[in-house]
């Protein structure tokens, strides 16, 4: 009973991991520029790897190796934003123009958006 439950928990976790990795892949293909792609690329690392490693931890059960998966996740969570920031920052430094939404009905609640209209397209 417990074993079947555990089996299905593992399957569900891995399935979720695959799902978010898939979504992230779709996002990288569909989104318009490097900045927005960086958003979705980090999904693979956060929830994709997160769920997959959680599945691995459950599969290992209560033993030392499960600690490693948590550690692994910890380092992924530190390196992922660092890499995303490095990519977007170097894009900014080399002058890649972000594709920005037209200032529309939304976002009018903040001050200082008057200076954006000329630039966004």
């Amino acid at each position: 009973m417990i074993e079947t439950l555990r089996f299905w928990v593992i399957v569900a976790l891995l399935g979720l991991g695959v799902l978010f990795t898939f979504v992230s892949t779709v996002g990288v293909i569909r989104l318009p520029d490097v900045y927005s792609r960086a958003h979705t690329a980090s999904q693979t690392d956060t929830l994709g790897a997160g769920f997959a490693l959680a599945g691995v931890a459950v599969a290992f059960g209560w033993q030392h190796a499960a600690v490693y998966t948590v550690l692994l996740l910890f380092f992924v969570f530190i390196t992922n934003p660092t890499a995303a920031h490095a990519i977007s920052r170097s894009a900014a430094e080399t002058g890649v123009e972000p594709v920005l939404a037209e200032e529309g009905e939304d976002g009018a609640e903040t001050a200082g958006n008057a200076d954006t209209d000329g630039e966004s397209r």
């Binding site: 569909r30 520029d33 927005s36 958003h39 979705t40 980090s42 600690v67 992922n80 939404a101 903040t110």
Partner: protein, 355 residues
């Protein structure tokens, strides 16, 4: 350049300093040192903050350079005023070399010298990382040229991230080493087997070596005996909250991506965060990037330039939940209850030219 009339006021001891600025990690400390040392030398201080324009100042991007220069100058002026407190400090800011062609260290030195003659400068305070424009680092050649010209200069003693420190620095040094030892020993035992004597012994040896050799690099700020362990505990409390935010944001972004119409609304926003530079700011910027939908593109001191993908993520950012979390981790529960960036007018949507 409006202070020619001030030079006859030498009856009162006035120290006049020239501080060339460039956008480096140590520029803040250089300004701090200049103000402090100037006030030690004399009762009142005249601090000339200058930015020397790089040699390619007349190419089409020159507007951007002069904007950068103006930004740096106004920031530096704020710093200097902050450091001055109530003391008698006059701050002049200007840019040099806008009308000439500064190429090598000699040009810079001569430009500084001309300015120094004009304004009766006593001393130049140099940033050790000084690097005007896009040229390579030029502190040493610049110092040689200043020697040749005979302009007195002083190199600001700053803490650099990769500074080579002393091995023993009193109680602070011990704290650093002890904390480094604990962290590395704990990590070693986490990877190894804490109940096996061999791992315990080798771990202690390795952690000892790491602590002695790397403690200065590990902590730029010495750890506090009470606060630092508390911060670790609060950080452990912060992790579930961060994970929950990540899951929420992931679902929101996934929904947008999978929708055939893909209703994204990319914007670039600027948020002035209320956390200290260094580790707290890094933690905040990383948390922001870790949640899909918000991405930190730039971090200049407390100013974060964040790219947001969907309006929901932007609203979350402007509500400042993560910022409160980080303030909770580093400063405790009381400081966590601050107004959101939106309420205190520290968040705005900016255009792409801000990059």
């Amino acid at each position: 350049m409006s202070n020619d009339g001030r030079q006859e006021g030498d009856a009162v001891a006035v120290e006049r300093l020239l501080v060339p600025l460039s956008d480096t990690v140590t520029v803040r400390q250089t300004v701090g040192y200049a103000v402090q040392s100037g006030l030690e030398a004399a009762d009142s201080l005249e601090c000339h903050l200058v930015v020397a324009m790089p040699y390619d100042a007349d190419v089409p991007q020159s507007d951007r350079y002069s904007d950068d220069a103006d930004g740096l100058l106004s920031r530096a002026q704020n710093w200097a005023e902050e450091d001055a407190g109530g003391a008698d400090v006059t701050i002049e800011t200007t840019t040099l070399g806008a009308d000439e062609y500064l190429f090598g260290p000699r040009d810079y030195a001569e430009s500084f010298d001309a300015y120094a003659d004009e304004h009766g400068i006593d001393r130049v305070v140099l940033d050790p990382e000084y690097q005007p424009g896009v040229t390579a680092q030029m502190l040493q050649p610049l110092e040689r040229e200043l020697d040749r010209i005979g302009l007195a200069y002083d190199e600001a003693p700053v803490d650099r991230p990769a500074r080579r420190g002393r091995l023993n620095g009193g109680p602070e040094g011990f704290d650093r080493q002890f904390a480094t030892f604990l962290i590395s020993y704990g990590f070693y035992l986490l990877l190894g087997d804490p109940s096996y004597w061999f791992d315990l012994v080798t771990g202690a040896a390795v952690a000892g070596i790491v602590a002695i050799s790397l403690a200065q690099v590990t902590f730029t700020v010495p750890p506090d005996r009470v606060q630092s362990p508390l911060r670790v505990v609060r950080f452990a409390l912060y992790i579930p909250y961060l994970l929950w935010e990540i899951v929420k944001a992931n679902i929101a972004v996934s929904a947008v991506i999978l929708r055939p119409s893909m209703p994204i609304e990319p914007t670039l926003t600027r948020v002035n965060s209320r956390v200290r530079s260094g580790l707290p700011l890094t933690a905040l910027a990383n948390s922001i990037t870790l949640t899909p939908g918000t991405l930190t593109v730039r971090a200049n001191n407390q100013q974060l330039l964040v790219h947001t993908l969907i309006p929901g993520a932007r609203d979350d950012l402007f509500d400042g939940g993560l910022e409160r979390g980080i303030r909770f981790v580093f400063y405790g529960r009381k400081s966590a209850a601050i107004a959101s960036p939106r309420e205190r007018d520290d968040a705005e949507i900016v255009g792409g030219d801000e990059l």
